[in-house]
């Protein structure tokens, strides 16, 4: 790659050399000069020059120019407000105009103290008002969704939010209506702003117009601490800041990892944190007493009971992992059970494979692709939301998005990226094989992603494998079932397994899930309460930070104590456990070296994984005329989301998605009631025709599928009844 041509630009009295075509705002920054902006945000596409905050004087141009719309040219001479009276006047004028209708809300506005309008007014704006007439007033705040409030009086119509809705998430729901000074930001009629990414507008908004409802009146910037950590709710692992006040998480903000999330986070990651304070959050262990049901016991008693159960089941303990444990938790638990109790059998909800290690890419590489092949029938946005944004960004950048590797565009393209979005996929082995067939290894900008279902499936599997070298022996009966994590506790298959087990210990945050069938419930922590590491779907190791103290001890603490009882040495804190794992899996880096914005390292030392029977690969191509049902786990589902009132409106409707062709053949239109059945069981629900869905596939949210799977019969409801 050739070095870009450098150009010389004069900004005020400073000279700077930048690559030709660099935006003027960045050029000024390189010279240490601020050009104030509101509407400018490179992630939203081409600059629009709407707000007029960035007015600068450019030699050779008669009028003031919007700096954000200019790029560095050789010999350019720019004067900002610092050295140009004209520019200073212009910027002052912009702020005066903005403030003409802006309400004096600072004392009651959450944005106060972290507000660009306040800051820029102090720096560039007028000190008083000359406006003596009536300001524009509106009913306020308006909930545009249960999670976002809109205050039209504060809105400065910078259009960042509408540009996000149009050109990033592409949902086209948040729009500007009317014209001129009557312009307002709104959704359609009374419909809420619904989608996976809506909350990003609250970070984009430079004033207190779009604010998270959960954070309303919750704190002032000088009362809070932002703790950097990583989201643990999906395998993307977006970098976030948890805003903490008085020991409670009050808000989640993006921390912007340019390679992973580019500053966007999904609404689940943003708004689900209140699950930490759910009503049924466990603080004390619960032990089943005969005839009394579950009763609270002390930790001392709980660990004694756990020890007893473990001893009785030596060699016959089966562990079910959720894939949301940290690497350290999985390792510690593994060491306790494999080394201490000779029980090597563990189950993950999905297969994990190291096959993709040869095709590793950062997510940001998707944008640079010529072709992105999206395989599988689970919508990317439900599995790994931010990946969906990267794919859209790639399309806007000129990439072709196709749905099979035989598309001629694939052979012609230089940069090819494959994305597998379930079901199945052998933990990445399937898409790795495709990548191999296409010869993508070693080719620049080429790679493959397998969108896992679990946030840390890879990390957990590696950790479990690394803690002991012995082979796993499959026991003929389950002496003790250890269920780790709420996802596993909520799984019906796991519950069925528990019925076969002689005893069950469950590690979970919430009491309700295992109340009916666990013998001992140990309270668990959430990802916001843990120090530890996760491995995301890129294969990137990232560092989580404890943002608040959990209401119960950290898992490592009591696992360490329990392990000691069996003569196994496990450090009671993350850094210590990580040191051991790192030796074996991560090339020996220390906990502190993992990094605030972790780079994508490979880890060649990773061993083979949890040995298990490969799941039968779901048939990919349905036969002609057949319909295969894909029941997917929606983004807005799971124990955490279920406990967040504000997110209930995002839960998926009970509906069956059908392709246009299949619908037409059955004379089904959107809204019609249909019956879906297979093997004697059937459900009835409304249909929705999705023109983008391929023929032969029908989709339904897992929670509405009622156990249906595989090839199904679909017909209009009244027809079935009459038949």
């Amino acid at each position: 790659m050739s070095t870009p041509e450098l150009v010389r630009v004069q900004i005020d009295e400073r000279e700077v050399h930048v690559p030709k075509g660099t935006g003027l705002i960045e050029t000024a920054l390189a010279a240490g000069v601020e050009i104030p902006v509101f509407c400018y945000e490179p992630r939203l596409g081409e600059p629009v020059g709407a707000c007029r905050m960035c007015l600068v004087e450019v030699e050779g141009m008669p009028k003031l120019q919007a700096g954000c719309t200019l790029t560095a040219q050789d010999g350019m001479n720019v004067k900002t407000a610092r050295t140009s009276q004209q520019a200073a006047e212009g910027q002052n004028a912009t702020l005066e105009f903005i403030l003409v209708n802006h309400p004096l809300d600072c004392p009651v506005c959450d944005k106060g103290g972290e507000c660009p309008l306040q800051d820029l007014t102090f720096r560039y704006g007028p000190g008083n008002t000359r406006m003596s007439f009536e300001k524009l007033t509106f009913e306020k705040p308006i909930p545009i969704s249960p999670t976002i409030s809109l205050d039209r009086e504060r809105c400065i119509l910078c259009y960042r939010c509408t540009r996000f809705s149009e050109s990033v998430s592409e949902d086209l729901q948040l729009i500007a209506a009317n014209r001129g000074s009557a312009s307002v930001i709104t959704t359609f009629e009374d419909l809420p702003y619904k989608g996976a990414f809506t909350g990003n507008v609250t970070e984009l908004c430079p004033v207190g117009a779009l604010l998270p409802t959960q954070y309303r009146f919750e704190g002032r910037p000088w009362e809070i601490v932002d703790v950097p950590t990583v989201c643990g709710l999906c395998p993307v692992g977006c970098n976030v800041n948890a805003t903490v006040r008085e020991g409670k998480v009050k808000r989640i903000l993006s921390r912007n990892h340019p390679e992973i999330d580019e500053g966007w986070i999904c609404d689940k990651g943003r708004f689900a944190y209140t699950h930490l304070r759910a009503g049924d959050r466990l603080a004390q262990p619960l032990q089943r007493q005969r005839r009394h049901g579950l009763e609270e016991v002390s930790w001392e008693q709980a660990l004694d009971e756990a020890e007893r159960l473990l001893r009785e089941a030596r060699g016959r303990v089966v562990t079910v992992l959720s894939g949301s444990e940290t690497v350290e938790q999985a390792y510690a638990l593994g060491k306790l059970l494999r080394v201490g109790l000779d029980s090597h059998q563990a189950m993950l909800p999905e297969e994990v494979s190291g096959a993709l290690d040869a095709y590793r890419l950062p997510l940001s590489a998707i944008r640079e692709a010529d072709v992105v092949v999206v395989l599988g029938d689970v919508p990317v946005v439900e599995r790994a939301p931010v990946v969906d944004l990267w794919i859209r960004s790639a399309r806007r950048n000129g990439a072709k998005i196709v749905d099979n590797t035989n598309d001629p565009a694939v052979a012609e393209a230089e940069r090819v990226v494959l994305v597998w979005s379930g079901p199945g996929g052998r933990g990445g082995a399937t898409v790795a094989k495709l990548a191999e067939k296409l010869g993508l290894a070693e080719r620049e900008g080429c790679g493959a992603f397998h969108l896992q279902e679990t946030p840390n499936g890879r990390g957990v599997a590696d950790a479990w494998a690394a803690c002991c070298d012995e082979e796993a022996e499959v026991a003929d009966s389950i002496g003790l079932l250890v269920v780790s994590g709420d996802e596993a506790a909520a799984d019906e298959n796991v519950r069925a397994l528990a019925e076969q087990a002689e005893a069950t210990i469950v590690l979970s945050m919430f009491g309700g899930l295992a109340a009916g069938w666990a013998d001992l419930i140990l309270p668990g922590t959430g990802y916001l309460e843990r120090d530890g590491t996760f491995v995301n779907l890129e294969g990137r190791l990232q560092r989580l930070r404890r943002t608040v103290e959990p209401p119960c001890p950290d898992e490592l603490e009591w696992i360490s104590q329990l392990a000691a009882r069996f003569g196994v040495d496990v450090a009671p804190y993350a850094a210590g456990v990580f040191a051991e794992v790192s030796e074996r899996v991560y090339g020996g880096i220390s906990f502190g070296e993992v990094g605030e914005r972790a780079p994508l390292r490979g880890y060649p030392d990773a061993q083979e994984h949890v040995a298990r029977e490969p799941l039968p690969e779901p048939q990919q191509k349905p036969k002609r005329g057949e319909i295969r049902l894909v029941a997917y786990k929606p983004l807005f589902s799971g124990a955490a989301v279920e406990r967040v009132t504000e997110l209930q409106f995002q839960r998926p409707q009970a509906e069956l998605e059908l392709s246009a062709e299949d619908a037409r053949r059955r004379k089904i239109a959107t809204g019609d009631l249909v019956t879906v059945g297979s093997n004697g069981s059937a459900i009835t629900l409304p249909a929705r025709v999705n023109r983008r869905l391929r023929a032969g596939i029908a989709r339904i949210a897992l929670e509405h599928a009622d156990g249906l799977a595989g090839v199904v019969e679909v017909a209009k409801a009244d027809e079935v009844v009459s038949a």
Partner: protein, 155 residues
């Protein structure tokens, strides 16, 4: 008889594929069909264009001739800009207000006629211009008003 959906596809075919250019003619068509751009009208239009109702509302509400509020079967639009204003625009508007019993921006109780003041219609040398159902009447005087209204009412 072609459906609205099909008619919109025909409109789309006039412009390059993947563009949204058909939205203005589609909204005009929807407005003719529904009387105004109601929720239903916008949903139908969005469906036919593969866009969202919100987007259609965003575009429609920008333009003066597209109505996102109910409007009468007929419109009487009086230019009240400078050139017509210099001669007799306000007198003509007042005369319509008198004759119809509604003010500018309002619709008669029977839902028949909406009276509106509009900006320059491009007939400045023959003031006052009145657009009756978008057809121009030139050199309108207050004396012409009763017959114009009778015309509209008569169908």
């Amino acid at each position: 008889m072609t459906s609205f959906y099909d008619e919109v596809q025909e409109l789309r075919a006039r412009y390059p594929e993947g563009t949204r250019s058909a939205i203005l003619p589609a909204l005009r068509l929807a407005q003719e069909k529904h009387g105004w751009l109601s929720r239903r009208a916008l949903e139908e239009t969005a469906e036919a264009l593969e866009l969202t109702p919100a987007y259609c509302y965003s575009v429609a509400s920008f333009y003066d001739m597209l109505h996102v509020e109910p409007i009468g079967q007929h419109t009487i639009e009086v230019c009240t800009n400078v050139c017509c204003g210099l001669v007799n625009a306000q007198a003509v508007l007042d005369a319509f207000e008198q004759e119809l019993g509604v003010g500018p921006g309002e619709t008669t109780d029977d839902g028949e006629i909406t009276l509106r003041a509009v900006e320059c219609l491009g007939g400045c040398s023959t003031p006052t211009i009145v657009a009756v159902d978008h057809r121009y009447r030139q050199s309108v005087t207050p004396e012409d008003v009763p017959s114009i209204v009778a015309d509209v009412r008569g169908g």
